[in-house]
């Protein structure tokens, strides 16, 4: 562990004084404004055009989507593709299942990572530092090594084709990244507050619940956002644990959409594009609403790790 000296997450919104930008020194002043904006726009197009193309394709009719050369924007916008997503496959059901699993797993990760992080910051016990190193080292443990026995364990418990394997592990530790992130945050909360509360006879649980958690809303929000995205996008666990279509989460539901032919042999690319966009939408909206938490979360786990 190397801990950098910055105590607050680096702000990206900060404006540098004119003429003092580090990057100008890095690439030199000869990189003219024209080149800079050209590069920004060209790379921006490389990242943005595929999305544009997906949106455009999702609104095309069956005939128009196969025209060559392709049209950039549909001649006639066909919103019905989005409605078809829900009639052709039980997509509303997939979304509902995913909401349930994601919220329950997210709750578990937040609570359990906060409890464990509190334990690592507010108590002294033998082996604390080495146990924390062990927590961090599990970040590098690939899940492939444990998946077979885990599957056998959950099968033994009769949990195949239930949501328990997707939810229950979240309540046991909540993931090394989140423990680390919350620990870093809890360390910045002055212990004077704890001491004062202790003199008033508050238990450790009350200190945790009534002092530390309310002061950590920003960090908890960061954990909540990353946890939400992680579970919403989760693919492997639902793939191996869920068998029946009515239990599918959205990721494997979307794949089911691809791999199961529709009743007619009509081209379905437009509907697939619409379904993909619906799948990605909650996460994209979350990003736009909560951008600053993303940056803070990534920077804390990345730079201080």
């Amino acid at each position: 562990m190397t801990t950098s000296k910055q105590s607050a997450p680096i702000s990206f919104e900060r404006e540098r004084p004119a003429g003092k930008s580090a990057a100008r020194y890095i690439l030199g002043r000869r990189l003219s404004r024209v080149w800079l904006y050209t590069l920004l726009i060209v790379t921006g197009l490389a990242f943005g055009l595929p999305f544009f193309w997906t949106i455009s394709s999702s609104l095309k009719s069956i005939t128009e989507i196969y025209i060559f050369p392709p049209t950039m924007w549909p001649a006639e916008i066909r919103w019905k593709n989005y409605a078809d997503v829900f009639t052709i496959a039980p997509f509303a059901r997939f979304i509902w299942n995913t909401v349930i699993v994601t919220l329950l797993a997210m709750l578990g990760q937040i609570l359990s990572a906060a409890v464990v992080a509190f334990g690592f910051t507010r108590f002294r016990f033998p082996g604390r530092e080495s146990l924390f190193v062990l927590v961090l080292s599990t970040i590098m443990l690939p899940w492939q090594v444990t998946i077979v026995p885990q599957f056998l364990l959950f099968r033994y418990l009769g949990w195949i084709n239930t949501y328990w394997p997707l939810i229950i592990p979240s309540y046991f530790g909540g993931g090394a990244f989140y423990i680390f992130l919350l620990r870093q945050f809890f360390l910045t909360i002055p212990k004077d507050l704890d001491e004062a509360a202790k003199l008033d006879g508050a238990s450790n649980f009350r200190i945790f619940w009534n002092i530390v958690l309310p002061l950590s809303k920003a960090a908890l929000a960061t954990v909540a956002i990353f946890s939400f995205i992680g579970h919403w996008n989760e693919f492997f666990a639902p793939l191996i644990y869920l068998n029946s279509t009515d239990k599918f989460t959205i990721s494997i539901g979307l794949r089911y959409f691809v791999s199961n032919p529709f009743e007619s042999d009509e081209p379905r690319e437009a509907i697939l594009m619409a379904a993909s966009l619906i799948t990605a939408l909650p996460v994209l909206i979350l990003f736009f609403v909560a951008q600053k938490y993303f940056v803070q979360g990534i920077v804390t786990t990345g730079l201080k790790g």
């Binding site: 950098s4 000296k5 680096i10 990206f12 004119a18 580090a22 890095i26 690439l27 000869r30 920004l40 790379t43 921006g44 490389a46 943005g48 595929p50 193309w53 392709p70 359990s112 464990v116 334990g119 108590f123 002294r124 016990f125 033998p126 082996g127 604390r128 062990l134 590098m140 443990l141 690939p142 492939q144 090594v145 444990t146 998946i147 077979v148 026995p149 599957f151 056998l152 364990l153 592990p169 046991f172 530790g173 909540g174 995205i229 919403w232 693919f235 492997f236 990721s251 494997i252 979307l254 691809v258 379904a275 799948t279 996460v283 994209l284 736009f288 951008q291 940056v295 920077v299 730079l303």
Partner: protein
């Protein structure tokens, strides 16, 4: 905890109570670690020496699964080589690409928050959606990519449907999804953490732009590079969902990566013993690669505060 002070410390009852309560608070993680990490690892090590079909009981085989993997399984080495090729390309190009994107965003340009968001969006796209939308973009006849190439007078390849181009296609998709993600944000924060004075005094000494980049920027952000490369290697070696959805290992095994091999052995053929052996080979590869990177990092990583 220092062992020297441990004894008297441990024997005070208030401190012992504090320690016990500390263990209680971290116990969810300890139980989770034993149940979902350490226990399964030991179990899979044991299973890797057995033949085990679900419903039956494990039959001891000794090293046979490992011998089979290394010398008889015709899919083992090709899938491993393919995975290494994919990992080297995505980690190499991806790390350089993310660093360049971060440098670009660190310029004093208008709208850089907008561009940062735009670069970041692909990394949020669920992998199944990513695979589906790129299948369509790379569609050989009417796909957008081949249409753009056609405009430039180039006859585009069959991409995901071509044996030769399938892995490069998956590399392209991974780069599109990965360059602007967390790695770029971490680089950006690293660049902003480099003290201004270093650049100012180097400029007084007449250092050129490239000299400043290689002598100041790179050493100052080298810990961040190490972090990104280690996690990048683990992530690329684990490539599964993208290939599973976009090509299902095809055409004709062209994108059959190591974890697909593991997955099919475990969950299609239900050869849990052999799959465990593959999992342990995989774990050892990841462990050795990470260990070597950390071990040799002191030759090129510069720690300001060590």
């Amino acid at each position: 905890m220092a062992a020297a002070t441990g004894r008297s410390w441990w024997h005070s009852s208030a401190q012992r109570r504090e320690a016990l309560e500390g263990y209680l608070w971290i116990s969810p993680w300890v139980i989770g670690f034993l149940l979902f990490a350490l226990g399964p690892m030991i179990a899979s090590l044991y299973l890797s020496f057995t033949e085990y079909k679900i419903g039956g009981s494990p039959v001891w085989l000794g090293l046979e699964n490992y011998i089979r993997a290394f010398s008889q399984d015709k899919l083992f080495w090709p899938s491993l080589n393919r995975t290494a090729y994919f990992a080297i390309a995505t980690v190499g190009l991806g790390t350089v690409g993310s660093l360049l994107a971060a440098i670009l965003l660190n310029q004093n340009a208008r709208g850089r928050n907008f561009f940062r968001a735009l670069y970041y969006l692909p990394s949020l796209t669920p992998v199944v959606a990513l695979a589906i939308l790129w299948q369509w973009l790379l569609q050989p006849q009417v796909g957008f990519v081949n249409y753009a190439l056609y405009q430039m007078g180039i006859d585009g390849p069959g991409w995901l449907t071509s044996r030769q181009w399938a892995v490069p296609s998956l590399i392209l998709i991974s780069l599109w999804a990965g360059i602007g993600g967390g790695r770029m944000i971490i680089f950006l924060a690293g660049l902003q953490g480099v003290p201004q004075e270093l650049y100012e005094s180097a400029e007084l000494d007449g250092a050129s732009t490239l000299q400043r980049f290689f002598n100041i920027t790179l050493p100052m952000i080298s810990p961040v590079i190490l972090f990104n490369v280690i996690l990048g290697v683990i992530g690329s070696f684990s490539v599964f969902a993208l290939a599973y959805v976009a090509t299902d290992g095809g055409p004709n095994y062209a994108t059959y990566f190591f974890v697909l091999h593991l997955y099919y052995n475990a969950f299609s053929y239900f050869q849990m013993g052999y799959a465990s052996a593959l999992a342990w080979v995989f774990f050892l590869i990841i462990f050795i690669l990470s260990f070597v990177q950390i071990k040799f990092s002191d030759r090129w990583v510069y720690y300001e505060f060590s």
